[in-house]
Symmetry: none
Subunit: 209 residues, 4 copies
């Protein structure tokens, strides 16, 4: 363990908080490396440089720590996204920006993807937040006559799946902006834009970002 998002959050805080964060960061690291199922409690404590039993001073079981890790990461991702979205009015550009940024965050913080993907069903409320968020952008696009679709949960599922493909594709290789750009095009076309309009929106977004 070197540092980690959770330890950053609790840097000045009490010892308990810092140990807890060390465990959370270690969990993220271990899950990224070995997968959710293969991650043992002892892997986590070892990665955190702590004794085995210490785990149980802070969490009841693997599920609990993973849920919390996933939630913390999700929260941070949203926080970073939010910052970039402010002031963007055009729905297409919003979608492109969000997608691009999302993928870029997850390819920068590689370990996060495994926890987020592996813990998707651990985060029903986060999922709801994310979906509300996306839904508002999609509806804005429909209102702006940019998108030609009916906005349903099922549609959002599809958008999310496309973005996940982009994340996964860059998970084990160097980040490749072209893939991200491609998937932005895919999302826009999925939402009913023609290939050419989609391409133009991406162009506009990249100028603006």
């Amino acid at each position: 363990m070197r540092h980690g998002h959770f330890q950053d959050l609790t840097a000045g805080r009490g010892k308990r908080e810092r140990t807890r964060s060390a465990l959370l960061d270690a969990a993220v690291e271990v899950v990224a490396e070995k997968g959710v199922e293969a991650a043992k409690i002892s892997d986590i404590t070892t990665a955190a440089g702590l004794a085995n039993g210490t785990f149980y001073n802070h969490f009841n079981d693997k599920d609990e720590i993973l849920r919390e890790a996933a939630y913390g990461i999700a929260f941070e991702v949203v926080r970073r996204l939010d910052a970039e979205m402010e002031g963007i009015d055009d729905a297409a550009i919003r979608v492109v920006t969000a997608t691009t940024r999302f993928v870029s965050i997850l390819t920068a913080e590689r370990d996060w993807s495994a926890v987020l993907l592996g813990g998707a069903d651990r985060l029903p409320d986060f999922r709801e937040d994310l979906y509300r968020y996306l839904r508002s952008d999609l509806e804005r696009g429909v209102a702006q006559k940019k998108f030609d679709v009916e906005v349903t949960t099922f549609l959002i599922d599809q958008v999310v799946a496309l973005i996940a493909v982009a994340v996964r594709a860059q998970l084990h290789t160097a980040p490749d902006p072209r893939l991200t750009r491609e998937v932005c095009g895919s999302v826009l076309r999925l939402l009913g834009m023609t290939p050419s309009k989609a391409a133009r929106a991406i162009e506009a977004a990249s100028r603006q970002g």
Copy 2:
């Protein structure tokens, strides 16, 4: 355990084959119920009505039986698909038909999805087959000027992800043809068709099917 695909395949055959099939069917059933990781060897033998140790007369470990189950199922899915695709020339209609049929097979045989989804990376060669297959249809569509995209593996990843969304959406509910139809539209738009052309292609495909 009642019957199962693998037992159908080996109905008249020798005892060894039939036992083996019972294990494969049981594995599919158990994985569908509890997931790949939670499925224990003993769950499989129990579901098959066999003794614990019998497993090792046929397979070396869980991975092996799952790979084989996934492969057998994948093979059967392709077989059924192939039958329906013959004689269809229009790429858009081919894609719609394949998608529709694929989803319909997996929603009919519910247990198959879990094995296929959970065993995706266990089937590198099947994946290749599937991708070659899809690729030819997509390229045909580009040649026919129906699709306006560059056909890459990454694009196929996206198409597959959309189809998977449709399967997953119907996994725990009654099958809903509207969802399947919707996802067909999504795929066609993803491939660069306009919403209206996509809708028309779906219409045409459903008349033809």
Copy 3:
């Protein structure tokens, strides 16, 4: 482990039953030696000459094996008692005989006491049987005008407590028939007999036994 009651019971039976019995006998032995709380699962399997995990092929936890051991022993004690009580009509002699025999069984099979005493509350139904049994003898004594008490559950509690004192007293020393005889007197006096009548009844019982 040498032999043991439970292994005697399952001598000719299948392997599963015999292993199970070995565990039960080992549990009795270990509990007698270290007490209920200090007895570890691994002590039991070691005493039985089995691997650790084997325990869980037969019982879910310590409580379960102890409950079963206590029940089996209780059953056997009752069986042996029953044999000796047949044909005795005089209630006082019945009580003396039962007490004497009970104490003698438990001092002969030393290990049984710990399990029976330690598992008393694990055996609600056995307790009920035992109480019904005692109650009938006490009521018989009242009907015969030998005993001058009101027969209540609370009274039986007291009789049982006196007998337990006799068992405990001989648990860690050589059996001493005088103690048993003494406690028989105590029980009869408790039940309202005069010291001299009580003494005579004991005399009579010992002639008869």
Copy 4:
């Protein structure tokens, strides 16, 4: 934790003493609730509203605190008993009074029983005191020709066992003076009094008390 016997004892004293008492009271409470074996050190400190490690500033282990708690309680019980016994000459009335009072103390201070019963073998010297005490009353009864028994340790074991039955019977229900009275009769009969004389002694004792 509200108050407790040990805190009463050290009310005005220094902090160290008061903390120590809080632990003792907590130990009594916890043992009453969960039993000796199940009581964890951390249960005790938690019940005392203290930190985990504080325990070791005062006691070395669970055994030590329980021994001390049992001793303190035993001491207090004897103190209260003594007060009531003064000036009673008749041995039968002494026994009835002691029994009645003892049971009434333990049913009033419910938590004490568990510690006393569970810690019986932790208190060899207290046991000796108690036995000397009882022995002198029994011998007095024999000298007064009230009791018709040989006074042995084994006999005292039996008397104590009967009293314990009365305590236990009222442990989880509301106190019931009839049970106590009943057990007084049992003790007197055990000691060789006839039922009618025993009844009269109890009558006399209750008039006197």
